[in-house]
């Protein structure tokens, strides 16, 4: 991306991994209501960050700030090296080229078919002719198991199918980072698992860095502790190795502040009263 190239190079951690997203003392308030109050964290390439917290704790706001849809009142936000907290809309468009977002309820375009939704970025922004975009559209729809739905309208889909199409749309242009806003809320456990599996597949097979915002603990733990591997041509899910599981970090927000930060094991073992209440 030309914009990303012009931006300062992504920071390196001591271990040499690339930091994809970095928040430093980020704060935001709507009128008198404080949504984020000095939130800091970093996310390395290929890793997963899971944001937990009660409704209104500022989880979705973090995703909107990463995308530059909202501007923080204070602090610094670097996404793939670019300082998105003070970039203009035009410059943000270039950063967004490397990001994909799965909105709550999918936010599919009602007037377009499933195929057009998935290929939106390729057809409308990359200006590819439809016949050139079609193989990629079919590929990503196949990836989420909805290849047969390419010519349907979004209104004909079930809730789970809509989320999976939204994931397909977000991944179609091969982003480096995918942001999921409550991808399984309102779905039954079976359907939620199919959505979780897509998230795991994208992370482990396509090396996409993931940020997951949810209050569904079951899904959060599932994504953090499962691993997708390709075996004999098919994808299988198995419990993640300790090293792999450590790449998924949980952040629990409370009143706009980071209340807990650590891996799935640390979260389960936490003795903090708020964390315990949330987990029970």
């Amino acid at each position: 991306m030309p914009g990303a190239a012009a931006a300062p190079p992504p920071r390196q951690t001591p271990a040499g991994a690339t930091v994809v997203v970095a928040f430093e003392e980020v704060s935001l308030a709507f009128d008198e209501k404080v949504v984020l109050d000095g939130v800091s964290f970093t996310l390395e390439e290929g890793h997963t960050k899971v944001f937990l917290g009660a409704s209104g704790a500022g989880k979705s706001t973090i995703l909107k700030i990463i995308l530059g849809l909202l501007k923080p009142d204070g602090g610094e936000v670097r996404v793939l090296g670019a300082p998105v907290h003070h970039l203009a809309e035009g410059e943000l468009m270039r950063v967004r080229g490397d990001l994909g977002m799965v909105f709550q309820e999918g936010a599919l375009f009602d007037s377009l078919t499933v195929g057009e939704n998935v290929g939106y970025k390729l057809i409308e922004e990359a200006r590819l002719p439809i016949e050139e975009a079609r193989p990629r559209i079919e590929e990503v729809l196949g990836f989420v198991g909805l290849g047969a739905f390419i010519d349907r309208m979004p209104s004909e889909l079930s809730g789970g199918q809509r989320r999976r199409v939204a994931i397909a749309r977000a991944m179609a242009a091969k982003p480096r980072v995918l942001l999921y806003d409550e991808p399984t809320t309102g779905l039954d456990p079976m359907t939620a698992t199919t959505v979780d599996d897509e998230i795991i597949k994208l992370r482990d097979l396509e090396n996409v860095t993931s940020i997951l915002v949810t209050h569904q603990l079951r899904d959060a733990f599932y994504v953090a502790t499962q691993e997708a591997v390709r075996r004999n041509g098919s994808v299988v899910f198995e419990p993640a190795s300790t090293a792999k599981a450590d790449e998924a970090e949980f952040i629990m927000l409370k009143d706009g502040r980071v209340h807990f930060e650590g891996n799935a094991h640390a979260l389960r073992e936490s003795t903090d009263t708020y964390v315990r209440t949330f987990l029970s």
């Binding site: 995308l67 967004r96 977002m101 909105f103 409308e124």
Partner: protein
């Protein structure tokens, strides 16, 4: 309380002006979304044809009916064509077409964009690298601004035909007399006024719809509110802006 309300209104006006500037800038510089532009010309232009034709026809007809009686008192019945055409071209054509567009197009735009906002589709557009102004606003502004004069000319024409029907059938004015009085009574300035007005009104109606739609909050209830607001604001704007353009054009071209 009053200062807060005043501040809110000022903020609203500021946002509206900003949207208009961004829209005009978007028309001048790409990327353009041609498919959306064609779609909007079809939806706003062709889609509004029936309502505009019906409004124009009955307005012209009732105008002939009403003025015929008054003109009779002065023995000026043959001038009915002149009166119908002057009123239609200069005032009623642009304003009534504007009001019809405010009802049909302004509300439609506010509802469509409003529901896209509350279901995060507008944010999804931005996340996918699309500027909603260029994708949603520019096509509508182009279609609204360019189709309003076309629709107005159609309304004027149909109105004059409606007037002719009443004049010849009911008022027994000779057909040739009706048409002569029109050609004698209409000036080039009237035509200019009749074309400049809908151009501005079309812009105002569409930008109002887009502005109200983009600022929708509060779920489906908010969409309903936005739709009502768009119609009310756009209708009042049509009447008010019409007055100011008339005043301005009288100074400039007459």
């Amino acid at each position: 309380m009053i200062t807060r309300r005043a501040k809110e209104i000022l903020q609203e006006v500021q946002e509206y002006v900003r949207l208009c500037v961004a829209a005009v800038r978007g028309i001048g510089s790409g990327p353009w979304y041609f498919r959306d532009i064609v779609q909007q010309f079809d939806a706003i232009g062709l889609g509004s044809m029936t309502v505009v034709v019906l409004t124009g026809f009955f307005t012209g007809a009732v105008l002939a009916l009403q003025t015929g009686m008054t003109l009779d008192q002065f023995g000026a019945r043959p001038f009915v064509g002149r009166l119908v055409s002057a009123s239609m071209v200069k005032e009623l054509g642009p304003v009534l077409t504007g009001l019809m567009l405010a009802g049909r197009v302004g509300s439609g735009i506010a509802a469509e964009i409003g529901s896209m906002v509350v279901t995060d589709q507008v944010n999804a557009l931005r996340a996918l690298g699309t500027d909603p102004i260029r994708k949603l606003v520019v096509p509508r502004v182009l279609a609204g601004t360019l189709m309003a004069p076309v629709l107005t000319v159609i309304a004027d024409t149909v109105g004059i035909i409606g007037g002719w029907l009443i004049a010849t059938v009911q008022l027994r004015v000779a057909s040739s007399l009706y048409w002569t009085s029109i050609t004698e009574g209409l000036y080039v300035q009237d035509a200019w006024m009749g074309l400049i007005k809908p151009f501005v009104l079309g812009f105002v109606i569409v930008t109002t719809g887009c502005h109200v739609g983009l600022r929708t909050t509060g779920g489906t209830q908010g969409v309903g509110r936005a739709t009502t607001n768009a119609v009310v604001i756009a209708s009042v704007m049509v009447i008010a802006v019409d007055f100011f353009i008339t005043r301005l054009l009288f100074t400039l071209i007459y």
